[in-house]
């Protein structure tokens, strides 16, 4: 009887080790920067900010009425330069993108758009970063998908690229029956 017991106990450390290894291995592939958005499913917070382009005051109303992207960028942000060509490509395909110029200077931002092209249908100026704070932004670039009711559906932290679009944004748009999601 004692022998039978010992036989089983021998495997306890092995099982423990395998369980721990699986747990830790699953953690390895994850990006720790990718925080779950606390705002998913919630409406865009109320704001009143100037437009970089027209100087008019914009509110959260501007982010309703259609599916659109809200892209947080700044001329101080190196990754924004990297993703910029892809934003232009998306815009060309008809994806409406609203830019949010985060903690930046207006003149620099205008120069940037003049030099590299403007993928945005509108640019919200968030010079003091308060709208960013309300959106839970902690860096740039970040890209939000906003539905026609003005609710945040998903949030992508980091560079916007074909992979992010195909894996995250397109499936949601497709499911919503939006042609931008492409055929599946």
């Amino acid at each position: 009887m004692s022998n039978k017991n010992t036989g089983l106990w021998v495997f306890v450390p092995l099982v423990g080790f395998v369980a721990l290894a699986i747990l830790l291995a699953s953690g390895l592939g994850r990006n720790p920067e990718e925080l779950p958005s606390a705002l998913a499913g919630k409406p865009v917070p109320a704001f009143s900010k100037p437009s970089l382009i027209s100087g008019e005051t914009l509110t959260e109303e501007r982010l309703t009425g259609q599916w659109q992207l809200l892209n947080v960028w700044g001329t101080w942000c190196p990754t924004c330069y990297v993703e910029h060509p892809y934003l232009l490509e998306l815009a060309q395909r008809g994806v409406p993108i609203v830019g949010m110029d985060y903690k930046d200077e207006d003149d620099k931002a205008r120069d940037y758009l003049a030099r590299y092209g403007n993928p945005f249908t509108e640019v919200i100026v968030d010079a003091d970063g308060q709208l960013g704070l309300d959106l839970g932004v902690y860096g740039a670039p970040e890209t939000f998908l906003i539905n026609p009711r003005g609710e945040i559906v998903l949030r992508h932290v980091g560079e916007m690229n074909p992979r992010a679009w195909d894996e995250k944004f397109a499936p949601v748009l497709h499911q919503a029956g939006n042609p931008l999601g492409g055929p599946r």
Partner: protein, 143 residues
């Protein structure tokens, strides 16, 4: 060579003058020391989302500065500690708090160590019991 000395001392004087100015960037004014204590406690308890594993009191990141400013403002406006923490949790999730609430997603964080400890105690108890039983059996076996 002699001319270098006055120039150098000027530079040193400028540095002396400059350092208190630099330190003043992050000073927050409060009505009383109680508010100041709360500010220090809260900024130690809130985690910087950009430079993870640093509190917002610790971090030099832009976002941490914004969060400190907002914390100070909310304290001056008379909001409670819980309101300040909730404000950030609503935006950045439970992650932002070094003392996350107990819910189904954080239960392993809170109970995990206790569970492991109990498992360890259980293992020790079982091992000791078996060892003593074996010792008894051996004693019985003896003629």
């Amino acid at each position: 060579m002699i001319r270098v000395f006055p120039a150098l001392s000027l530079v040193l004087c400028a540095l002396l003058l400059a350092s208190p100015l630099r330190a003043a960037i992050d000073l927050y004014q409060f009505d009383n020391t109680e508010q100041q204590d709360r500010f220090h406690r809260l900024t130690e308890e809130l985690r910087c989302p950009k430079c993870q594993n640093q509190s917002i009191a610790d971090s030099d990141a832009e976002i941490a500065r914004d969060m400190r400013e907002r914390t100070a403002r909310m304290i001056r406006e008379g909001r409670s500690d819980q309101e300040v923490v909730n404000f950030f949790v609503d935006r950045y999730g439970d992650f932002v708090s070094y003392r996350p609430p107990v819910n189904e997603r954080t239960v392993i964080l809170w109970m995990g160590p206790l569970g492991l400890l109990l498992l360890g105690v259980l293992a020790i108890v079982l091992l000791v019991r078996r060892a003593s039983r074996r010792a008894e059996l051996e004693e019985d076996d003896q003629p």
